[in-house]
C-alpha cells in the first residue's frame, strides 16, 4: 500500500540534508549523530512499518539516481550506505535493543527491494547499484570499530542471511555480483573465522546455494560463456578455501558432493583434496607405504553435514538400521533397495538422472559409518579390514553393485569414491570396499566400471585426493587384483597408453 501523503517529499528533504552533511569536508561525527537523532525524533527509527517505508524510499531515490546516468553514479548509493552505517553507529541503544537491532530490518527492506526490482525488470535488471551498496556495508560494517563490541558476528550472519535470500536461484540476474560479495575478502574470511567456526553453517549454505544454481547447467558439460565465467569464478573461490580454510571443505564435503553434478570432476576433486592443515600426507607413490600403520587412518573425519538426512526424508533409515543390526537373511530389504533409490518419473527430467543421488550418497556413507561403529564396538584394531568381511554393510554394497544398472552402479561407485580423501578411517574403509568389490565381482564390466570411476578422477587436471591415489596405486600394483590381466586394460591402443601414462605419473 502507498506511503502516507507527503511522506515521500519529507524523506527526500531529509536525504538532501544528509547529503549536505556528508559533503562537509573532514570527519563530521557530531553532525551525523545529530541527524540520526533527528530521524529518531521523527519516529523513523522505531523498527516499525514507518522505518521500512523510510529506508525503502531512500533506496528508491538512491537506485534511481545511480541508474539515471549512463555511467553509473554511486554518489547517492554511497551516502545511503553511510546513512545506514551512521544510524547503527549513533543510534542511542536503549536497554532493550542492541545497537544493531535495525540492521536486520534494513537488510530485509533491501532484499525485498532487490527481489521486486529483479522480478519487474527481468533482463534489464541492473545489479551494480545493489552490489555497490553491499560493498559499502561489507567495508564499513564488517570492519566495525569497537563501538559495536563483538557485534561483528551479528552483522556477518545478518549479511549472510540477506545473501541467502537473494541467492542466484532467487535472483539469477544478481549471480555474478552475489558471488563477488559472498567471497569478498571483508566478508568470507571473517564469517569463517569469527566466533570459533559458528559462521561455517552460514557460509556452507551460501556455497550450496551457488552449487544448486549451477548444477543444472554444469550437468550438461557444454557451458555457455556466462556459465563458464561463473564456473571459473567458483573455482577461484574454492581454491582460496582449499588454501586458507581446508578444514571447512573437509567437514562439509558430504553436502557439497550432493549438489555438485558427477560430471564436475575437477571441481569436486578440489573439495575432496582438502585436508587439515596440521596433517602431513605421505607421498602416495612411496614404495611399500603401509597405509594401515598411519596414525590418522583409524581416526574418524569430522562430518558436519547431516549424513542420514536423505535417508530420513525417504523414511528408509529405520529399515537400514534394522538390517544392519539383524542382518536378517532373506528379508525384502535388500531386494527392494534398488527400487527405493529411483526417482519418480516426473522428477527424472529435472534431476537429469533416474536416481536420487543425495539418497545414494547418504545410504553409502551412513552404512559405512555404521559398519565402522559396529566394528569399533568389538575393539578390534580398526586398521585391519578383515573384520569387515562378514557384515551387513557388505551385503548392502554387494547387492547394489549386482542389482543396479550401469547408471545406478556409476552413482553408487561415485558415492564410495567421494569418501577417498585424506588419511582417515573413512578413506581407509571405502578404499577397502572398492578394492574388495573389484576383487569379488566376477563380472569384468563391474571391474571396468570401478576402474573408470577412479580413472576419470585421475586424468583431470590436479588436484587429486590422496585417498584416490593410494587406491588406484594399490589396484594396479597389488597382484591380488591382477589388474593388468583384465582385457579392458588393453581394449584399445589409446586406452593401453592411457593406463600406462596414468600408472607412470602416479608411480
Amino acid at each position: 500500500d502507498f506511503d502516507p501523503a507527503g511522506f515521500s517529499e519529507q524523506v527526500s528533504a531529509l536525504f538532501t540534508e544528509w547529503y549536505q552533511i556528508c559533503e562537509l569536508p573532514g570527519a563530521n561525527d557530531a553532525a551525523c549523530a545529530r541527524h540520526v537523532s533527528l530521524l529518531q525524533q521523527r519516529g523513523l527509527l522505531k523498527g516499525d512499518e514507518m522505518t521500512d517505508r523510510f529506508f525503502r524510499r531512500i533506496m528508491e531515490l538512491s537506485v534511481s539516481h545511480c541508474l539515471s546516468s549512463e555511467t553509473l553514479s554511486f554518489l547517492a548509493i554511497d551516502i545511503y550506505a553511510k546513512l545506514v552505517f551512521s544510524v547503527l553507529k549513533f543510534f542511542p541503544a536503549d536497554q532493550g535493543s542492541s545497537k544493531l537491532s535495525l540492521l536486520p530490518k534494513v537488510l530485509a527492506v533491501t532484499v525485498k527491494f532487490i527481489l521486486k526490482d529483479a522480478e519487474e525488470r527481468k533482463a534489464s535488471f541492473n545489479p551494480r547499484p545493489y552490489f555497490r551498496l553491499f560493498v559499502n556495508w561489507l567495508l564499513d560494517l564488517c570492519s566495525l570499530d569497537p563501538v559495536f563490541d563483538g557485534a561483528n558476528f551479528q552483522v556477518l550472519t545478518g549479511l549472510a542471511n540477506a545473501f541467502h535470500a537473494i541467492q542466484p536461484l532467487k535472483v539469477p540476474g544478481f549471480s555474478f555480483a552475489w558471488l563477488e560479495l559472498v567471497s569478498h575478502r571483508s566478508f568470507m574470511p571473517k564469517l569463517l573465522t569469527a566466533n570459533a567456526q559458528k559462521g561455517w553453517p552460514y557460509f556452507q549454505r551460501l556455497l550450496v546455494d551457488l552449487f544448486q544454481f549451477m548444477e543444472p547447467f554444469l550437468r550438461k558439460v557444454q557451458l555457455g560463456e556466462p556459465v563458464h565465467f561463473l564456473y571459473k569464478g567458483t573455482l577461484r573461490v574454492l581454491l582460496v578455501l582449499l588454501h586458507d580454510f581446508p578444514e571447512f571443505l573437509c567437514d562439509y564435503h558430504f553436502s557439497f558432493c550432493d549438489v555438485i553434478p558427477p560430471s564436475c570432476i575437477q571441481m569436486r576433486n578440489i573439495i575432496l583434496s582438502a585436508f587439515p592443515r596440521n596433517m602431513r600426507l605421505p607421498d602416495p607413490s612411496t614404495p611399500n607405504l603401509k597405509i594401515d600403520l598411519l596414525p590418522e587412518i583409524t581416526q574418524s573425519p569430522r562430518i558436519l553435514s547431516e549424513v542420514d538426512a536423505a535417508l530420513k526424508a525417504k523414511q528408509i533409515k529405520n529399515e537400514v538400521d534394522e538390517y544392519l543390526k539383524t542382518r536378517q537373511q532373506g528379508s525384502a530389504f535388500l531386494t527392494e533397495l534398488k527400487q527405493k533409490l529411483l526417482l519418480s518419473p516426473n522428477d527424472v527430467e529435472r534431476a537429469g538422472t533416474r536416481y536420487n543421488v543425495p539418497l545414494i550418497n547418504s545410504l553409502v556413507l551412513y552404512v559405512g559409518m555404521q559398519a565402522q561403529q559396529l566394528q569399533a564396538g568389538h575393539a578390534q584394531s580398526m586398521a585391519n579390514m578383515s573384520a569387515f568381511l562378514v557384515s551387513a554393510a557388505l551385503d548392502i554394497f554387494q547387492t547394489l553393485i549386482m542389482d543396479l544398472d550401469t547408471e545406478g552402479r556409476y552413482l553408487f561407485l561415485n558415492a564410495v569414491a567421494n569418501q577417498l580423501r585424506y588419511p582417515n578411517n573413512h578413506t581407509h574403509y571405502f578404499s577397502f570396499i572398492l578394492l574388495y568389490l573389484f576383487h569379488e565381482s566376477n563380472q569384468e564390466t563391474i571391474q571396468e566400471q570401478i576402474t573408470r570411476v577412479l580413472l576419470e578422477r585421475l586424468i583431470v587436471n590436479r588436484p587429486h585426493p590422496w585417498g584416490l591415489l593410494i587406491t588406484f596405486i594399490e589396484l594396479i600394483k597389488n597382484p591380488r587384483y591382477s589388474f593388468w590381466s583384465r582385457s579392458f586394460t588393453r581394449c584399445a591402443s589409446e586406452i593401453e597408453k592411457l593406463f600406462e601414462s596414468v600408472s607412470r605419473s602416479f608411480g
Binding site: 551494480r128 559499502n136 536461484l169 539469477p172 555474478f176 550432493d258 547431516e306 543421488v357
Partner: protein
C-alpha cells in the same frame, strides 16, 4: 538449525519458493554477464591521511586545497619553468594520493623514469650508448637528496655515468 540440504531436485522445481525454471535462470544470467560489477564498483575514494603531518597553527588550512587534485594545476607546474622540485615533493610527501599520480605523470612527460630498485627517478642525460629489449646503458641524471652540511642540504640532481637501467625495474 539450517535444516537439511534439499536434494538437487527441489531446488530446480519451478516456483518452489520463488524459484524459476532453468531457461529463465540462464536468460537472466546472460543478461547479468553484460552488467558485471566493475573494479571501480568496489573502490572507494581514498581519504588521504598524511604520513608525517606537519604541525601547523590552526589558522592554517587544515585540509588540502581542492586545486591539488586538479590535473590542470599539475600540467601547469610540469610545463612552466618552476622546475621539478614541486613534482618530486608531491611524489614523495603526498603518497597514495591523486596528486602523487598527477605529479608522476608530469615527471614522465619530462622523460623521468622511476626505478623500482633504487626507488628514485632517472632521466637520460644523453642518448644511451647501449639499448636492448631488456635494458639501456648510458649517462643519467638522477634525482637525489644530498646533505653538504647541517645547513646546506636539499634535493639535487646528480650525474651517473655507465649506469644500466634494466627495464624489469621500470615502474
Amino acid at each position: 538449525d539450517l535444516g537439511i540440504i534439499g536434494d538437487n531436485i527441489s531446488a530446480s522445481t519451478p516456483n518452489s519458493g520463488g524459484m524459476h525454471d532453468q531457461s529463465y535462470n540462464l536468460q537472466m544470467l546472460e543478461a547479468a554477464y553484460y552488467r558485471l560489477p566493475q573494479p571501480k564498483d568496489s573502490e572507494r575514494a581514498k581519504t588521504y591521511t598524511p604520513r608525517h603531518p606537519a604541525a601547523t597553527p590552526p589558522s592554517y588550512p587544515q585540509v588540502q586545497a581542492p586545486i591539488v587534485n586538479n590535473p590542470a594545476f599539475w600540467e601547469r607546474l610540469g610545463a612552466d619553468t618552476y622546475g621539478t622540485d614541486t613534482l618530486f615533493f608531491s611524489f614523495y610527501y603526498q603518497q597514495n594520493t591523486y596528486q602523487q599520480y598527477l605529479a608522476a605523470r608530469e615527471l614522465k612527460k619530462q622523460s623521468w623514469r622511476y626505478h623500482r630498485k633504487y626507488n628514485t627517478w632517472f632521466q637520460r642525460h644523453e642518448e644511451p650508448k647501449v639499448a636492448t629489449d631488456d635494458f639501456e646503458q648510458g649517462t643519467y641524471v638522477y634525482f637525489d637528496f644530498h646533505i653538504a652540511s647541517d645547513e646546506q642540504h636539499g634535493w639535487c640532481q646528480r650525474i651517473k655515468t655507465e649506469f644500466t637501467f634494466e627495464y624489469s625495474y621500470l615502474e
